[in-house]
Subunit: 383 residues, 2 copies
DNA sequence: TTCGTTTTCGAAAACGTTTTCGGTAGTTAT
DNA sequence: ATAACTACCGAAAACGTTTTCGAAAACGAA
């Protein structure tokens, strides 16, 4: 009944077990094992994307020629090229970027790791990154660490697994060990740090004037007559927090104002924290007469609270913050800030990364510090 | 001097032109063309990623077996599997997602197209998308249309070229033709619309209570005693603008308040526009006593301007807006809004898309309307 | 011991490109 | 006429996986 698929013999067929659920047969004549294949189900070819092979077949030429034509290579007759391009556009051919990337060993994709996309600062940075990347022909893959070190590590691994051509990263507040970065760097992956950078590692970096900004803000408070300036600092380990705190300290030192530990409070990007700080300060025997918030959001929260408590700003307490958002200018009193453009930071970082990717061998990592700007508003302006 | 690469003969070699800049030679004996290849430069194998073939070689087995072991297939000896996994982790093997995707025909990546990442609403949506997508094992690729139809079309093409498994999209304000969507839909790409949806096309959609929200806000103004309610509407063609305008009209109709064309102003998401609207209204013989802003940002701008002009809110003019952000609660007077959670919208949309991708055949597109919430604040509350 | 069976694994094709190498034919200079 | 040359194109390998098919060996029962 059943014929051998090879020799066609019928009488020499014996059963020979099961394989993958199907009866297996053996032909003693030609010594071959086989199974009977059902007529394979209809393959849906309609929705498939056109490939270079389809074009080649339809023109009766080889795929290599099509590839050459489409990529503007030289070894091809202009007439042939023209015809191939005509057919390609007619068939609406779109190259499969996966296959291209696999073959060329580059994806034209850059990975971005940020703590949180909902923070306006990072959203602005992303916009800047996207603009530059798109213009340079790169796609962007974004991951959020949610301020978690382990998530950040997973993010980096996922992006590397996707074979991104380079990495832009701003570390989570938890991140104090940088092995995940060092590993990829050793493997030759171009990496650029921005904002929350890491000094243990030799990458290009874009940073704000953290020290200078704090210094200027603090000095401004001092010049407005503040004698006891409290500071709402950031997470203890975070580099930018440390720089900002140092700027504050340096300004105090310049004007011979003693540094008081009780006026320093470290927050952790947790909602409502700054109010604890404020509460503490207001219960001191000697209240502060100025506050520097290392993150503008804390300043906003404190302004709201101070107003609730009927404490006058800036006459009783002046307040200034780091970073600018629309809200800083709209709140009453409006908030004095030290401001950098997040969009520009993203743009610069992306530009550096693209440079690094393109000139992998000659690229020299550098540190670029952005120029910030003191914007004086009502919250600190004592006439 | 020069020997044929095939037969080794030396005397039969003649020159035969140049090819790709190199001298070409011909052996008359074996009739073969060839060039002399310089010893190829040292290939840098050190930084290369470990592949499945490396593992196979190091164990003296075939790549297919390694693949089987790593993917938990059944056809393999437990001992072998264990050993392979041991070596794989030891060598820190990471599968090349490009190769995997190319082979399996799926990338486990979803594409997102939004008008602008800097708008807090969309940033929130993105956060929601990311969370759900990550949990479901999908990566996310984000593009911004910048409210341009042509950019949106390019974005879609780019994402399709990257072979995303599905698409989440909120249309640009310019988008009135949806051919780019229809095309991909025909090709079988799962697509989910959110917020700025498109009715011409049968996709799953997640929308806000645009009509209902406007209705509730307008009704609220009416119940607070407003008789002449102006509306700062959105772009004329945008579906959500139309719905919101309709909600406004319906509320007026319910309370037999005549609709006045001069109190309707269409904005276009351009900075400062709402002030033009406001200026026009304030110069009318009969000023409005209530304003509905279809986008909260316009309401904020108008509050600032009204305060400048010393017009009392809400007693002279009450004002309400669509959408909530921190600033709405902090501005003085705080703004009454109708609010939806952007994060939740993103999460729902992503969940729908993942469902659509996984159950491609059985998935039934549906429209999900999110529940909004009227938050009454000072800007409309006449005691 | 011989046939049917199961377990385990390898060879090879496939995914869609690009690139390398060389063959063929036609052209120019001797 | 022929040596040296140019222009164009195809075959095949390569990128790193997964999957399909069947071979080999070991096992069990008649």
């Amino acid at each position: 009944m059943i014929a051998c698929t090879k020799c066609g013999s019928v009488e020499n067929i014996v059963k020979s077990g099961f394989i993958r659920g199907k009866q297996r047969l053996f032909c003693k004549a030609c010594e071959v094992h086989f199974t009977i294949n059902l007529p394979q189900k209809e393959i849906n070819k309609t929705a498939r994307q056109i490939t270079i092979v389809d074009i080649a077949k339809s023109l009766g030429i080889s795929p290599s020629t099509v590839s050459r034509a489409l990529n503007g290579r030289s070894d091809i007759n202009p007439m042939t090229r023209q015809e191939i391009i005509r057919v390609a556009t007619e068939m609406d051919y779109r190259p499969n970027l996966l296959a291209q990337s696999l073959n060329r060993g580059e994806t034209h994709t850059i990975g971005v790791v940020i703590p949180n996309i909902e923070r306006p600062f990072f959203a602005g940075v992303l916009a800047g990154i996207q603009k530059v990347a798109t213009e340079a022909g790169y796609r962007v893959m974004i991951c959020q660490s949610n301020e978690s070190h382990s998530t950040e590590t997973l993010n980096v691994q996922a992006l590397v697994a996707s074979r991104v051509d380079g990495l832009l990263i701003s570390h989570s507040k938890e991140t104090t060990s940088f092995d995940h970065i060092k590993l990829q760097l050793r493997r030759g992956l171009p990496i650029v740090h921005f904002d929350r950078v890491c000094n243990e590692v030799e990458t290009a970096k874009v940073v704000q004037e953290d020290f200078e900004g704090s210094f200027v803000l603090t000095e401004h408070l001092i010049l407005q007559g503040c004698k006891r300036i409290a500071v709402c600092a950031g997470p203890r380990e975070l580099l930018i927090s440390i720089s900002r705190l140092n700027g504050y300290k340096a300004a105090l030192a310049k004007y011979d104002i003693p540094l008081r530990e009780e006026l320093i409070y470290h927050t952790n990007f947790i909602k409502g924290e700054s109010l604890l700080a404020l509460d503490g300060w207001l219960n001191l025997p000697q209240k502060p007469d100025g506050i520097l918030a290392v993150h503008y959001a804390n300043a906003i929260d404190m302004i709201v609270e101070l107003k609730k408590r009927k404490i006058k700003i800036p006459s009783e307490i002046a307040i200034v913050g780091f970073g600018d958002e629309l809200i800083a200018s709209l709140i009453e009193p409006s908030l004095t800030v030290f401001h950098h453009s997040p969009f520009q930071m993203g743009a610069i970082a992306a530009k550096m990364l693209v440079d690094n990717i393109i000139h992998k061998d000659t690229f020299q990592p550098m540190l670029q510090k952005m120029n910030g700007e003191l914007i004086i508003r009502q919250s600190s302006l004592r006439k």
